[in-house]
């Protein structure tokens, strides 16, 4: 397969993630959207990594290392995000993203 195909899939995932963050009326969806975006980036990194497969181990694996770290990062982020969402839910008694709007112009 060509590199472009992977990139296209990643781009599509990225957009889906963004759309999910913007369009759905549930904080949980926003968390899912973030994961989608991170996945898209990871797909890119791995694809590029493969693309450099012939350039020696260190170079060839840079992308994979990055992806690995990003996965760790996603975990951390998910944990904090969930904690915050639960915290908000507790205080506002709502899971809708538009409900916390005490702070506005």
């Amino acid at each position: 397969m060509s590199l472009g195909a992977y990139l296209a899939v990643a781009a599509a995932l990225f957009v889906l993630g963004l759309a999910m963050m913007i369009a759905r009326r549930n904080l949980i969806y926003i968390l899912m959207g973030i994961e989608l975006i991170l996945n898209a980036a990871n797909l890119n990194f791995v694809a590029f990594s493969r693309h450099a497969a012939n350039a020696g181990t260190e170079v060839a694996l840079r992308g994979q290392v990055f992806a690995l770290i990003v996965i760790l990062l996603a975990v951390a982020e998910a944990a904090v995000a969930l904690a915050i969402v639960l915290h908000v839910f507790r205080l506002f008694d709502s899971i809708r993203p538009e409900d916390p709007d005490l702070l506005r112009e």
Binding site: L18, I22, I30, E98, R104, E105
Partner: protein
């Protein structure tokens, strides 16, 4: 520098204006603490100045007898505004026949007025400052006549404006006085700015302020311009004359002078006789060379119209000082008109004689007012017996102003009438004849109203018994000046006057000696004028007596004795009736129209400058509030609006934020891709 005039003369001449100035400062700062509230300081200063003036004048006459070209000049005594050679403004002294005469006359009259005030103002609340201002006033006039350039001239000119303001407003608690002083200053100031502009034009074009240099430059300019006056010079001349119109109370800026009567009587005397109004005439004479022929005609017309115009008003005034005031306006018209037609000497001559008898008249009226505490003539009458000295001196002065032969006014008025008549006969056009017509008619009216004044005040039976009982002759400090002034009113014409002024006139810049046909015409005119003026004066006096002294009965007797005036005799009653039925309403009507014009239009223009200003200011204020401030507020409002837009974005919803962020990123990417 003429021989015989040196440093000592400079010192003496400089002392003449400076003494009153020093007196002013001393009196202002210390006067009130001194004995007699310091009144002796200005009196002393003026006395010395007057003596110096007379001494120097005598020296001119003796050392340089009848030399028309006499001129002593000390330029640059005090550098006021330094600058490149010609551009600087400095004070200096120009002492020629004209200033010599003026210095002596002004000094003397001013001194007498000071003296008179000691008695008249006795017990006044602002006695000390009155003398200070009076002294400054004298400084202004003396400095003005000795000025060698337009700058110092203008400074003194304005100083007089200030003094007139302060002195007219002396009784400032009277609203009418407060209004009058403002009116005087403002009206004259309109003239002043004209004068200023005129000076500015001359200075810009010719590069100097000094009279002598300017006089030398004008022929050069004329030569360059083919003998004709260039436009700027015409403008400059007229503008300078504008200054004279204001100061000398010529139509249409005459309105301040009658109101100036609100000041104490010595002030009126000062303004009407020695200073202020004379300054305008003096200026016109000094600036005669800058006046183009057309401008001179304008001058003559303005003057003559003012003369008749004021005279008609003077006829129906009952306030003694107002009559005198209009009389002054009228007489000033004579002077101006005389200068306008080229009779500079005549105009100046009249100014000097007028100064003496008008001062006397004012001081006399002051004496009367002092005695009866009213200015209304209908409440007087018969005072002759109570105040013989006042009556006598005033009689002399009235005779002088009326133009009775041997009295001073006769000679000077005759000279003017001769000049205007000559002018009319030479030019032979209606416009050029108008001054003559006006002035002759006015001459008759002058005699009429002046005698009317005299008769109503001093003759007949007392109309107010109470006032009469309390009236008494004034103290010597007031009567002595009257005597002196009356003496000059009596003798001023023949003592030194006529011939002196004829000589003086020859030396004035811009004077042209008539030759050939013109000389003949002039001679002829003067002959005619003599008769005409006598006739006018006689008629006026007679009418006055007929109407006010003898009433109807006496009028008949008068008609019999003077058969020569047959027609008048024959129409004795008819004249009376005519006067009552037609002339009076006519004159009254005319006066009313003039008054109306005066009050509504001229006063309206001057006083109403305020109203006009307020209107303009209201518009400006509106502009200020709505447009200029509005722009500022608009900015604030726009900022607020922007804030509103911001609020539209800042919804408080996180998803919107993300959406906006994404949109922003897309836009940014698009921008970079497109660029």
């Amino acid at each position: 520098m003429p021989p015989g005039f040196g440093h000592a003369d400079l010192l003496r001449l400089a002392a003449i204006p400076l003494l009153p100035l020093v007196a002013f400062f001393v009196q202002t700062l210390l006067g009130r603490f001194g004995p007699r509230k310091g009144d002796w300081i200005p009196v002393l200063a003026l006395g010395i100045a007057a003596v110096l003036g007379v001494v120097e004048f005598g020296k001119v006459i003796i050392q340089k007898p009848w030399d028309p070209a006499f001129r002593a000049e000390w330029p640059g005594l005090f550098d006021w505004i330094p600058g490149a050679a010609g551009a600087k403004a400095s004070f200096g002294i120009l002492y020629d026949n004209l200033s010599a005469t003026m210095t002596a006359a002004v000094g003397l009259v001013a001194f007498l007025i000071h003296l008179f005030s000691v008695g008249y103002m006795h017990g006044d609340r602002r006695y000390a400052s009155f003398f200070a201002h009076l002294s400054l006033f004298s400084f202004g006039m003396l400095g003005l006549v000795l000025s060698d350039n337009f700058v110092s001239f203008f400074v003194c000119w304005e100083v007089m404006g200030l003094c007139s303001y302060l002195l007219i407003g002396h009784f400032s608690e009277k609203p009418s006085a407060a209004a009058a002083c403002k009116k005087a200053f403002l009206t004259t100031r309109i003239g002043d700015v004209c004068l200023f502009l005129g000076i500015a034009i001359l200075w810009t074009r010719l590069g100097t302020f000094r009279f002598t240099e300017l006089w030398e430059a004008v022929p050069r300019v004329l030569a360059e311009n083919g003998g004709a006056y260039p436009g700027w010079l015409v403008a400059a001349g007229l503008l300078i004359f504008g200054g004279a119109v204001g100061k000398s109370a010529q139509f249409p800026l005459h309105v301040w002078l009658p109101d100036a009567m609100e000041g104490p009587t010595p002030v009126s005397a000062m303004i009407h006789a020695a200073t202020m109004v004379a300054a305008g005439v003096f200026l016109t004479a000094r600036a005669f060379l800058f006046l183009s022929p057309e401008a001179r005609l304008v001058v003559a017309l303005v003057g003559s119209f003012t003369a008749i115009f004021a005279a008609t008003i003077g006829i129906c005034q009952t306030d003694i000082k107002r009559v005198l005031a209009y009389s002054t306006v009228s007489q000033l018209g004579y002077m101006i008109a005389g200068i306008g037609v080229g009779g500079i000497a005549a105009g100046l001559f009249h100014m000097i004689t007028h100064a003496t008898f008008k001062a006397c008249l004012f001081l006399g009226s002051g004496s009367v007012i002092h005695a009866v505490h009213t200015q209304e003539m209908p409440q007087m009458g018969g005072l002759r017996r109570r105040m013989p000295i006042t009556y006598g001196t005033m009689l002399v002065s009235t005779l002088a102003i009326a133009g009775v032969p041997l009295f001073a006014g006769f000679y000077s008025k005759d000279a003017i009438l001769g000049s205007v008549l000559a002018h009319a006969m030479e030019r032979r056009s209606l416009v050029d004849a108008l001054p003559a017509i006006f002035l002759f008619v006015a001459a008759g009216m002058t005699a009429f109203y002046m005698f009317r004044l005299l008769i109503l005040t001093f003759h007949g039976a007392p109309r107010d018994r109470h006032a009469f009982e309390h009236a008494h002759e004034s103290p010597p400090v007031m009567t002595i000046p009257l005597f002196i002034l009356a003496f000059f009113a009596l003798s001023g014409g023949w003592l030194f006057g006529r011939s002196w002024f004829l000589q003086l006139g020859k030396g004035l810049p811009g004077m042209v000696e008539p030759t050939g046909h013109a000389a003949e015409v002039e001679h002829e005119a003067h002959g005619l004028a003599l008769g005409g003026s006598l006739l006018a004066a006689g008629l006026g006096i007679l009418l006055a007596f007929a109407f006010y002294q003898w009433k109807k009965l006496s009028a008949a007797a008068w008609a019999q004795r003077w058969g020569a005036v047959h027609r008048c005799v024959k129409n004795k009653y008819y004249v009376d009736e005519f006067y009552l039925a037609t002339v009076v309403p006519l004159v009254l009507g005319l006066t009313a129209v003039q008054r109306w014009f005066d009050v509504r239009i001229v006063d309206g223009l001057v006083d109403g400058a305020g109203a006009l200003g307020r209107l303009g200011a209201a518009i400006s204020g509106w502009f200020d509030r709505w447009v200029v401030d509005g722009a500022v507020n608009l900015v604030g409002w726009l900022t607020q609006l922007w804030g509103g837009v911001a609020r539209l974005f800042q919804t408080g919803r996180i998803q919107t934020y993300v959406a906006f962020g994404v949109a922003g990123a897309v836009a940014a990417a698009a921008l970079v891709l497109m660029a």
